[in-house]
C-alpha cells in the first residue's frame, strides 16, 4: 500500500459546510410536532372562547366608563394576561414531557443506533434537546402570545366599532400592548432561566431510566419531601421544590398595591433583583451539571 492511501484523506475543499446543531434542532421539531401544535391549539381554544365573550363586550365596556383609569386598565388587560398565562403553562407542560422523552424515545425505538452512526457528538445532541425548552419554546410562545393578543384586540375593536364605537378609544388607551410584549419577553426569559435545572433534570432522567421516566423524575423528590415532613416535621425540601417551580415570579416581578393611576407594566419588572438572586445561579449551575451528566450518559447508553 502506498503512502498516499495511508494518509488520512482530507475533506474536499468544496465539501458543503455541515451544521450539526442546526439540523439537530430541526430534527427535534420534525419529530415532536407537539412543540408547536399544543400551544397553537391552546391559542385557538382561547381565541374561540374570547370570540364568544365579545358578545357582552360593548356592555362591559360601558360599565367600565364609570370606573377610574386604574381599574379600567386592569379589567381590559385581564383576558390578555390570561391568554399569556395559558400559553406559558402549556409551554411548560410541553417542555417537561418533551424532555422526559427526548433521550428515552431514541433508545426505546433503537434509532439511537442510527443517530450515533452520524458524525454528531453526544454533546451536540443533548444540547440541541436542551435548546428546545430553553430557547425554541419561549421564542415560539412569545410570537404566539403576541399574535393571539393582536387578534383579540382586532376582534374587540371590530365588535366595539359595530356597536356605538365610543369605547374603542378607551380600549386602545388602556391597553399598553407594546409594553406588555416587552414584559412578556422578560418573563419568558426569566422563566426559562429559572426552570433550566428542571429541564436538565428531566433530560437526565430521560437518558437514564429504562421506563416510566415521568415517575422516576417526579416521585423521588416528592418522596424525599414527604419523608422529611414525616420524620422531622419540617418542609425544607418541599418549599425548595415549590421555590424552583414558582420562585421566578417573586424574584422577577413586583406587583405593588394598585393606586388610582394605571400601572406601567414595565415598572413591575425587577430584573436586578432577579439576577442577584442566588437561587437563579445555583439553579443554572445545577442545570449545567445535569446536562454534563446527560451527555456522559448518552455516550454509554444502549438501546433498551
Amino acid at each position: 500500500m502506498n503512502t498516499l492511501a495511508n494518509a488520512q484523506p482530507e475533506l474536499p475543499v468544496d465539501a458543503p459546510a455541515t451544521r450539526p446543531m442546526y439540523w439537530s434542532v430541526r430534527r427535534e421539531l420534525w419529530e415532536n410536532r407537539s412543540i408547536y401544535m399544543a400551544p397553537l391549539i391552546a391559542a385557538a381554544v382561547a381565541l374561540f372562547g374570547y370570540l364568544i365573550s365579545t358578545v357582552g363586550l360593548p356592555h362591559r365596556m360601558r360599565a367600565l366608563l364609570a370606573l377610574g383609569p386604574a381599574q379600567q386598565s386592569q379589567a381590559i388587560a385581564r383576558p390578555y394576561s390570561f391568554v399569556a398565562a395559558l400559553l406559558i403553562a402549556t409551554a411548560f407542560i410541553v417542555g417537561v414531557f418533551y424532555c422526559l422523552d427526548a433521550l428515552h424515545g431514541e433508545r426505546r425505538d433503537r434509532s439511537i443506533l442510527f443517530w450515533k452512526s452520524l458524525p454528531v457528538s453526544d454533546r451536540t445532541t443533548v444540547l440541541s434537546k436542551a435548546i428546545i425548552p430553553l430557547v425554541v419554546l419561549p421564542l415560539l410562545i412569545f410570537v404566539m402570545i403576541v399574535v393571539t393578543q393582536m387578534i383579540m384586540l382586532m376582534l374587540s375593536t371590530a365588535v366595539l366599532l359595530l356597536g356605538n364605537g365610543s369605547s374603542v378609544a378607551m380600549l386602545w388607551a388602556r391597553l399598553p400592548l407594546f409594553k406588555m410584549a416587552l414584559g412578556l419577553l422578560y418573563a419568558l426569559t426569566a422563566i426559562a432561566l429559572w426552570h433550566a435545572p428542571l429541564y436538565g433534570w428531566f433530560l437526565l432522567v430521560s437518558g437514564w431510566a429504562r421506563r416510566a421516566t415521568f415517575l422516576w423524575a417526579v416521585l423521588p423528590p416528592l418522596a424525599i419531601s414527604a419523608f422529611e415532613r414525616i420524620a422531622f416535621h419540617t418542609s425544607y425540601i418541599g418549599s425548595l421544590l415549590r421555590y424552583r417551580l414558582i420562585g421566578w415570579f417573586a424574584q422577577g416581578f413586583d406587583f405593588k398595591p394598585r393606586g388610582t393611576a394605571p400601572v406601567d407594566p414595565l415598572t413591575q419588572l425587577t430584573p436586578w433583583r432577579f439576577l442577584s438572586t442566588p437561587g437563579l445561579w445555583i439553579g443554572l449551575g445545577a442545570a449545567a451539571i445535569f446536562l454534563v451528566a446527560a451527555v456522559r450518559l448518552r455516550r454509554t447508553r444502549e438501546p433498551i
Partner: protein
C-alpha cells in the same frame, strides 16, 4: 496501516465475559465476514469498534480511538446496525436533508440516484415503508457516504431472499471499490460466501479462525466418501463428519487434495460447514 487493529480487547457485563482478550487486524480494502454463534461477542466487538461501548485493551480504528472520538470517526465510518433502526416517524426527504446537513461526506445526488431505482417515495414516512424498503433506504443513505469503513451488523435480518440478494449485489457493484473496507456479521453465511475476501470466526469473545477466503479454499476440503472408503478417510483425521442420505461427508483441514480425491468427490465446503465443525470442536474442547 490497518483499518482496524485490536489487541487484548476485553469487555465484561457483570460476570459475563463478552470479549476475552480479542486480537484483531483488518487491512484496508477487505470485506471481512465476522461469524459467530449468538452471544459470541460479535455485536460487542462491533460496538467497541464503532465507539458505542467502552472497553479495556487497545483498539484503533483508522488510527483513532473510537471511544473518545466517535463523532470524528463517524465521518469516515458508516454502519448499519441491524434493520429497522431508522426513526419510524421520519420522512424519507427528512432523512436525506438531515444526513446531508450533518455529514460532510454525504453525496445527496448519489443517494437520490439509488432511491430512484426503488419504489420509495420521498414523502413517505419510514413507518409506512416495508422492511425491505427501509433496508434499501438505509443502504442508499450509507452508500452515498464516502466512508472508508462500513460496518454491517445483521443488515439483512428478516428480509426476504430477493432483498437480501439485491442488498449484497448493490454493495458490491455500487459501493465497494477495493479502497474501502467492509465488516459484516450475519447468520446467513451462505449468501456472503462469494462476497467476502476474509473470514473470522468468533466464539466466547475470542477469534477462533482468521483467514482470507483464498486460504480458506486451500485449507478446507470436503469429501463425500463412498461407504467402502469411510475407514480410510477417517484415518486421515477429518475435523468433522456427518451423514447425508447414507453417505458420509467428511471435512478436512490441511489435507492433501490428491489423497482425498481417491476416496470420493472433493469440493470446497461452505462457510457454514466449516463453522459447524470448528464450533463443534470448540465446544468439545471446552467440555474436556
Amino acid at each position: 496501516m490497518a483499518c482496524i487493529e485490536a489487541h487484548g480487547l476485553r469487555k465484561t457485563f457483570g460476570t459475563k465475559i463478552a470479549l476475552d482478550g480479542l486480537d484483531l487486524r483488518v487491512e484496508e480494502g477487505r470485506i471481512l465476514g465476522l461469524i459467530g454463534p449468538n452471544g459470541a461477542g460479535k455485536t460487542t466487538a462491533l460496538n467497541a469498534i464503532l465507539g458505542l461501548t467502552p472497553y479495556q485493551g487497545e483498539l484503533k480504528v483508522l488510527g483513532r480511538d473510537p471511544w473518545t472520538a466517535r463523532d470524528q470517526l463517524m465521518r469516515d465510518v458508516s454502519f448499519i446496525a441491524d434493520v429497522a433502526v431508522l426513526p419510524r416517524w421520519m420522512r424519507v426527504s427528512q432523512a436525506l436533508d438531515y444526513v446531508a446537513g450533518v455529514h460532510p461526506r454525504f453525496d445527496r445526488a448519489k443517494a437520490e440516484g439509488f432511491l430512484a431505482r426503488t419504489d420509495i417515495r420521498r414523502a413517505s414516512r419510514i413507518r409506512e415503508l416495508s422492511k425491505g424498503m427501509v433496508a434499501q433506504l438505509h443502504l442508499a443513505l450509507v452508500m452515498a457516504i464516502d466512508a472508508r469503513l462500513l460496518v454491517l451488523d445483521e443488515p439483512t435480518l428478516g428480509l426476504d431472499i430477493l432483498y437480501r440478494k439485491q442488498f449484497y449485489d448493490s454493495l458490491l457493484n455500487d459501493y465497494f471499490d477495493r479502497s474501502r473496507t467492509i465488516v459484516v456479521t450475519t447468520h446467513q453465511v451462505e449468501e456472503i460466501q462469494d462476497v467476502l475476501t476474509d473470514l473470522m470466526f468468533i466464539n466466547r469473545g475470542r477469534i477462533v479462525l482468521d483467514c482470507s477466503m483464498e486460504e480458506f479454499e486451500a485449507r478446507y476440503l470436503q469429501v463425500m466418501v463412498n461407504p467402502e472408503n469411510v475407514a480410510a478417510a477417517q484415518a486421515l483425521k477429518p475435523i468433522h463428519e456427518r451423514q447425508v442420505f447414507g453417505r458420509s461427508i467428511l471435512l478436512f483441514d490441511h489435507a492433501d487434495r490428491q489423497e482425498l480425491a481417491a476416496l470420493g468427490e472433493v469440493r470446497t465446503p461452505s462457510i457454514a460447514d466449516v463453522f459447524v465443525a470448528v464450533m463443534g470442536n470448540q465446544t468439545q474442547g471446552a467440555a474436556r
